[in-house]
Amino acid sequence: MNTIVTPGQKLCKDTEYISSEGTYVHKGSIYSSVLGFSHTIKRNINTDNNNETTTTSSSGSSSSIPSEYNNSTSEDKRDYIVVLKEKEPGIVPEIGNVVTVQVLRINPRLASCAILCVGTKALKETFNGVIRVQDVRATEIDKVEIYKSFRPGDIVSAEVISLGDSRSYYLSTAKNELGVVFAQSVVGATMIPVSWNQMQCPKTKTKEYRKVAKMDIAGTDQDDDNDTENGHENEKEDNNNESDQE
């Protein structure tokens, strides 16, 4: 079933499979909605580990299959059908995504920032996001001072909590693993986290207040991420090569 399909291509009847990512149902049939490879995913309610694709995934992005497929409790026996894109520029921050943002400016009520990456994928163009003062941390919300949590230029790991207002997404750092991951001190040195709310400049030894992200959880995540990233890096180069030869 590892075939290339184009948008609008009829894949199967909707009684055979459950329509999933990259597909839609129309008049009892499942159609592809993107250009890519069609896969079927065996449903297995018991364990996550048995969740395998029927084909050796050549696109290497099996991680993008949402986990919620396994949580469905219906008696349905059908497998899922998905179409995976080869190239994925159309990423948009969605609720629940962990995003990497850069703080642009701060005021006592909020820190406004630019969303640079969704997960590990860099966005082509940035989206606006806002971390409101009540979303900085989970405890002692009324004592939070934005000024002591973020500074312009900081790189922050945050979660999208809502689509927000007309200008920006609302983000939150109210989890241990979320917060400032990279910050520079006044003299321009990269600061080292010393506690959950302080970072130290290695040059001047001055301490500055930040809402620091707990790094050790992120560390293991990063390893996983690197694999997929490399895959994408290769793809990117391929694209370049190809277009060079045109």
């Binding site: 948008p7 839609y24 159309g90 948009v92 689509l163 277009s243």
Partner: protein
């Protein structure tokens, strides 16, 4: 007021006319003067349509397509229908400066002609009414095919540039835009393909009327005009005075739904229906070319990656 900062020549220049035509007109004028006293003013008249030599009336010109031509865009496509050359890039889904729609993406299209795209005078850099018109038609044709609800709070922009216009600009633009959207990985219900056809007065009659220089005033309104329908007209055919009208059809062939029919000119009911039928067949053919192209481009990418 918009101020154009672009380079301008302080001296007004013009394009010289063809001496050949001038000579012909001079001769014709002499003949006319012999026949009647009223002199016909010297104007540029388009030549009568030459009969198609290299293809039949229901045949396409050669089509060439390629995706991924603009490295900076999310998706892009380039299409050549012989001498009609169109490039299209898609930006987005990207953040909109001010969101109006929360549930779905905003979709906008813009079509521009390069200043040298058409024969004759240069095209102004400012957006003309024609470009605006084509942009709207392009948007209308494609918007129904895109799953905009998948991309809330974002904008998808399609930009089309016509590099060389030799008829069928809208067809090329619609085809290029849907190819580019597919290339960008934007989720769609189906790709839109388009096709145009033209209805022209039959050669023998038009030649006769042309020769006498009069007597064709009521030909459009006449119920029975000898006419034939040509698929995929060139610019010369489109702008010829023998053309009665034009039909452009945009269609989602896989779902078998038509997204847009544009009919211009004075066409009889039968002619219109015939034109549409011809176009629908054409759309399916173009669709298969589009599909093939996309599949082979993806295959190429994958094989490169495996190497």
């Amino acid at each position: 007021m918009k101020i154009d900062f672009r380079v301008t020549n302080p001296i007004a220049t013009s394009i010289p006319l063809d001496y050949k035509i001038y000579k012909q007109q001079q001769e014709q004028q002499k003949q006319n003067e012999q026949q009647q006293t009223i002199s016909v003013p010297v104007t540029t008249t388009s030549e009568p349509i030459k009969k198609r030599t290299n293809r039949s009336e229901e045949q396409f010109r050669q089509i060439f397509m390629k995706t991924g031509v603009v490295s900076q865009a999310s998706g892009s496509a380039y299409i050549e229908i012989e001498n009609t050359k169109v490039i299209c890039s898609v930006h987005g889904p990207r953040a909109s400066p001010k969101t109006e729609l929360f549930e779905s993406a905003k979709f906008s299209c813009e079509l521009k002609f390069a200043s040298f795209a058409r024969p004759g005078e240069r095209i102004d850099y400012m957006e003309s009414a024609k470009e605006k018109d084509l942009s709207i038609n392009l948007r209308q044709s494609i918007i129904g095919a895109i799953r905009l609800e998948k991309y809330p709070k974002t904008v998808i922009d399609v930009y089309v540039m016509v590099l060389n216009d030799d008829g069928g600009v809208l067809v090329a633009a619609i085809t290029a835009a849907s190819m580019a959207l597919a290339d960008a990985g934007v989720e769609m219900y189906d790709m839109v393909s388009a096709c145009s056809s033209i209805c022209i007065r039959n050669q023998s009659i038009s030649n006769g009327s042309n020769g006498s220089g009069s007597g064709n005033g009521s030909s459009g309104a006449a119920p029975k005009v000898q006419s034939s329908i040509l698929l995929d007209p060139t610019l010369q055919e489109e702008e010829s005075k023998d053309s009665l009208g034009c039909v452009v059809v945009a269609k989602m062939p896989s779902l078998n739904e038509i997204t847009q029919i544009i009919q211009t000119g004075e066409l009889s009911y039968n002619n219109t229906i015939d034109g549409i039928d011809l176009c629908i067949d054409g759309c399916d053919k173009i669709y298969s070319i589009m599909k093939q192209n996309l599949i082979s481009s993806l295959e190429k990418q994958v094989s490169k990656k495996l190497e």
